[in-house]
């Protein structure tokens, strides 16, 4: 039974790329979370930089809000740039 807080781990694979969520782990504090992330997620040269964030600090959208959060975007195709015809003169 693990009572240590949960941390989310983000790893930058190479310089120039963004940090990407790679997994989570349990640790008592940020220092330990970073060290465990190093051993758990970068032991095969997966990264050059690690961020850890305590999972409880993340505010996440909720499944029951899907209808109001995301579905209204479904029928608004005019928000995509491809919806518009570009005049030939623009030479794009």
């Amino acid at each position: 039974m693990n009572k240590l807080p949960l941390w989310e781990v983000f790893v930058r694979a190479r310089r120039g790329l963004d940090h990407k969520h790679i997994g989570s782990l349990h640790a008592s504090d940020g220092t330990q979370a970073l060290q465990s992330a190093r051993d758990t997620y970068t032991r095969r040269q997966e990264g050059v930089s690690i961020w850890v964030v305590e999972a409880s600090k993340i505010h996440a959208s909720q499944f029951e809000d899907d209808a109001s959060f995301f579905e209204p975007a479904e029928d608004k195709i005019y928000r995509h740039p491809t919806f518009y015809d570009v005049p030939d003169e623009l030479n794009l």
């Binding site: 349990h26 220092t31 330990q32 060290q35 190093r38």
Partner: protein, 249 residues
């Protein structure tokens, strides 16, 4: 006696025997993340044991390989510090042992970068990167557990009292160490002791642990006089090569 061979062989034995003990935690550590971290660090030690034993074999000039030296020598021929072979114990004992040896290895490998032996310089450069992490990790655990709950502090103090008797051996120079320092192969044990004590005493104070005074310092490892637990460690580690000589996988 080929003293340079002995000097390198002992370092290889320390890495091999400590790595073997650490690997006993694999699948048994207190929690998953710690299990992976401990196994990673164990592999670092086994990895440097391979390099050191291979190089020892070259220095010996009798054609022995890393495997010959690891799996086909008897207890009396191993020259590791007794501290490395002590049974794993609980996590308090494991971590205090790791920390004291990680700190020792940090200064040893730092100094070996100035060695007159170029192979040792290269091995030390790789080992130092790993050990810089090891000592940070085990040092943090010493503080967490030492300055943690009443029980964790008691367990750490008990472990420190137990293991401290074995630290004297790290700094006793015999003819092999004297040869190594005279030839510029390795640092003097006096210098290592100076660095090690400054680091360790400060850390233990921070961790609210008390160094026992007037203890009997137990020695013998480097002369092949080992503790009771060394035999069972070797029989497990060497089982395959002893039972099926020459077996490969």
């Amino acid at each position: 006696m080929n003293k340079e061979f002995q000097y390198v062989l002992r370092m290889g034995d320390n890495a091999l025997i400590l790595g073997q003990r650490m690997s006993e935690w694999c699948g048994h550590s207190p929690f998953l993340e710690e299990d992976i971290a401990m196994a990673n660090c164990a592999l670092d030690h086994v990895g440097r044991a391979r390099m050191l034993l291979t190089h020892a074999g070259v220095l010996e000039q009798k054609g022995r390989t890393e495997d010959d030296l690891a799996f086909l020598r008897d207890e009396r021929e191993f020259g590791n510090f007794l501290m490395c072979e002590l049974p794993t114990g609980d996590y308090a004992f494991t971590m205090i042992r790791q920390y004291l040896l990680d700190a020792y290895h940090f200064y040893l490998y730092t100094e070996l970068q100035k060695s007159s032996n170029n192979v040792l310089v290269a091995i030390a450069a790789k080992a130092l990167k790993e050990t810089t992490y090891h000592v940070r990790r085990s040092g943090d655990w010493v503080i967490k557990l030492g300055d943690g709950s009443e029980e964790s502090n008691q367990r750490m103090q008990g472990a420190l009292d137990e293991v401290w008797s074995y630290t004297g051996e790290l700094f006793i120079a015999d003819e092999v160490d004297d040869f190594a320092s005279a030839e510029g192969i390795g640092p003097t044990t006096g210098l290592l002791r100076e660095y090690w004590e400054a680091e360790v005493l400060e850390k233990l104070r921070t961790a609210k642990l008390t160094v026992p005074n007037e203890v009997w310092l137990i020695t013998g490892g480097r002369d092949g006089i080992h503790t009771e637990s060394m035999g069972s460690l070797l029989s497990e580690m060497q089982f395959l090569q002893r039972s099926y000589p020459g077996l490969e996988w």
